[in-house]
């Protein structure tokens, strides 16, 4: 493990050595009006692994997550400086289409938010607007494949045309994951995906995340340190808008280098 110097331009904190870097952020500052939400953050995130962002409420982890697929663009009064790169290409370049970007960087939200339409329509919506399916059978195959990947197909195969909002909370969240992976993203961002779910549904989602990491770069924001320890290989600890420490999850939870990380992990604040 390299020496980690957070927030330095000379050496970017790298979550894990020996893996391909998928996303890198350079000197990112984000402001909500007057509020300085993210302070000069630089980080590199690897492919085919689960990276967890942890930290107390209001530390900026969700804000930074939303900078990776430019969801912050939709918030009035949100400004950003610095750069975020996906595969060494800036996603804030003028020639990058934000709609295209979001099909490469999918997102799963805190509260399950299926469209009030059928299960099939929920998953088919992404491929449909991006024109991914050539015909109806193609689309059906895509939907089934996505539902299978999200581990939901067996439970809903008899009622694909029933409403998505009629599913249980955990099923709804897996439906949202299926919807996100239906457009073939490379990166999946998850903003506290289990915070509205019961422990059994949470376990099911965590299992799913573990399966998905074989093929995707996954970033998960979580409040639960146990969850970070269970699902992630790499962890980044945020505090008051700065990235305090990054590293291998096992190492971070056993021997944190920064005093603040240690205090947070041992439950002294947060």
């Amino acid at each position: 493990m390299d020496q980690i110097i957070p927030n330095s331009t000379q050496q970017i904190p790298r979550i894990m050595v020996g893996r391909d870097v998928r996303i890198s952020a350079r000197n990112v500052d984000i402001y909500y009006g007057e509020k300085h939400a993210i302070k000069s953050l630089s980080v590199e995130i690897p492919d085919r692994a689960v990276s967890a962002f942890i930290g107390p409420s209001g530390c900026g982890k969700s804000t930074f997550l939303r900078a990776i697929n430019r969801m912050n663009d939709t918030i009035q009064g949100c400004r950003m400086t610095g750069d975020v790169m996906l595969d060494n290409k800036s996603i804030y370049d003028k020639d990058v289409d934000v709609v295209q970007l979001r099909s490469h960087v999918g997102m799963v939200f805190q509260k399950p938010n299926p469209f009030p339409k059928s299960i099939f329509e929920n998953v088919a919506y992404g491929p449909r607007i991006h024109g991914l399916a050539k015909n109806k059978t193609d689309l059906e195959e895509m939907v089934v494949a996505s539902l299978k990947k999200a581990g939901l197909f067996e439970e809903v195969k008899d009622r694909l045309h029933a409403s998505g909002t009629g599913l249980s909370g955990g099923q709804q969240q897996r439906l949202c994951i299926a919807r996100a992976i239906a457009v073939n993203p490379e990166v999946i961002l998850m903003d506290e995906p289990c915070s509205a779910l019961d422990p059994i549904a949470t376990a099911r989602i965590e299992e799913l995340i573990d399966e998905l990491r074989q093929n995707y770069c996954i970033i998960i924001v979580t409040h639960s340190m146990q969850q970070a320890a269970r699902v992630s290989q790499l962890t980044a600890f945020f505090h008051l808008g700065t990235l305090v420490e990054t590293g291998d999850t096992d190492e971070m939870f056993t021997s944190p280098k920064d005093k603040r990380t240690q205090d947070y992990i041992t439950g002294r604040f947060g």
Binding site: T74, Q76, R102, F115, P116
Partner: protein, 409 residues
């Protein structure tokens, strides 16, 4: 707790309960009072208006005299005299000129219309004696309904004794336009005028209002200009409606030279009037759609427009429709702005196009209420009943739509 404290707290509690009981009583009293007012209004209108939906006919044996009616051209015949003579024949004892004149006034001016129509459709009737129902005048009608002032009309009493008077539903009321003769006046003209006017208002106001609301709520950036626009829309909703009428007069009639009294102009004015209402209702409906739905759509790569038109707008539609229908109900009942653009004239014809001169329902009520004939008072109440029924129907549709399309999250 000491006894003194316990006593204090009990007294305090009793006070709180008393306050609550008082408040409940005020609420119930207010409700009872409004219900009483509403009932009084409905009963009064019903009592006055319901008789206007009926009319009286006299059953007469009429000889279609071939010397007066030419079988080859029955339309030119003098049916009025035939009917009059048949009517006089019921009262052989009345011979004086002035009494006959009075007798004549018991028949409607259009008493022979039904007979004429029957003979024109079947000219073989000429030369035969047929039984015909002839419409009585408003004066006779009121007397038979027991609404006449004081005097007695022996002629009608004797007809009634001979069982020659028939009471029927006055379909005429729904088939005719306005008329100077109360027994002939109907609301079809005003009803059609209202439908044409309101359809213009809907066709213009709904798409413009929804588009404005979608833009302001979903696309426009929040800055001083949009704030200013929002404040002004809210202010416009509170502007007295007659001001919109003056605006219509100045712009649509004087600048653009559109025809006076036309449903087209009325619809334009009403569209302006309901636009703020529709915009405000639509914005509220759009705002009520959870932002998570829009985020979900944006998250899978929908453009802003796709997110709005595929997801947000369909979910807001029931609320928008409810607002639009309530706005329409308001437009339907609006009188003042239409007076300014000349929709207050006496118009006997039923309008068939957007540029024909027309009256509308509330203006018809206003016009009839002003007329001296007693029978028009009853017609006024009847027109109010029709107006209220239409408004109730519109509100019922609004409630039905809201129930049908409402979704829960």
């Amino acid at each position: 707790m000491t006894d003194a404290q316990l006593k204090d707290s009990k007294a305090f509690l009793a006070k709180r309960y008393a306050a609550e009981r008082r408040f409940k009583f005020y609420g119930a009293a207010a409700l009872a009072l409004t219900t009483a007012f509403l009932l009084f209004l409905l009963v009064d209108i019903g009592r006055k208006g319901l008789p206007a939906f009926f009319e009286h006919h006299a059953t007469l044996q009429v000889l279609i005299d071939p010397t007066k009616i030419d079988a080859s051209n029955p339309a030119a015949g003098d049916f009025a005299t035939l009917v009059k003579d048949a009517f006089f024949a019921q009262f052989p004892e009345i011979t004086s000129r002035s009494e006959r004149k009075q007798l004549r006034s018991l028949l409607s001016q259009s008493a022979s219309d039904d007979l004429r129509a029957a003979v024109i459709s079947d000219p073989t009737l000429v030369g035969k004696t047929i039984t015909s129902q002839v419409l009585l005048s408003d004066e006779a009608d009121l007397y038979l309904k027991g609404q006449a002032q004081d005097e007695t009309i022996p002629a009608l009493d004797s007809l009634r004794e001979k069982n020659l008077i028939e009471k029927r539903i006055a379909w005429r009321f729904f088939e005719n336009g306005d008329s100077r003769e109360p027994e002939l006046a109907g609301i079809r003209g005003a009803l059609f005028g209202s439908l044409l006017t309101v359809s213009i208002a809907l066709a213009l106001g709904l798409p413009l209002g929804v588009a404005a609301a979608v833009y302001l709520e979903q696309f426009a950036s929040k800055n001083r200009w949009t704030d200013l626009i929002e404040i002004n829309i809210n202010n416009l909703a509170a502007v007295p409606s007659i001001i919109f009428g003056l605006l219509g007069l100045a712009i649509f009639l004087n600048v653009f030279g559109l025809p006076r009294s036309a449903p087209l102009v009325g619809g334009l004015v009403l569209a302006l009037l309901v636009l703020p209402t529709i915009i405000i209702a639509s914005r509220a409906a759009l705002r009520a759609v959870p932002p998570s739905i829009k985020e979900a759509a944006l998250g899978v790569g929908a453009s802003q427009q796709q997110a709005v038109f595929h997801h947000v707008l369909p979910l807001a539609l029931p609320g928008i429709l409810t607002g639009a229908i309530l706005g329409l109900a308001r437009a339907f009942g609006e009188t003042a702005p239409l007076l300014m653009i000349g929709m207050v004239a006496f118009i006997a014809d039923v309008p068939h196009s957007f540029t024909d001169a027309a009256a509308v329902m509330p203006v018809q009520v206003y016009l009839w209420s002003d007329l001296p004939e007693l029978a028009f008072q009853s017609k006024t109440a009847a027109a109010i009943i029709v107006l209220i029924v239409v408004l109730f129907a519109l509100n019922a549709i609004a409630i039905y739509l809201r129930r049908k399309f409402e979704r829960r999250w």
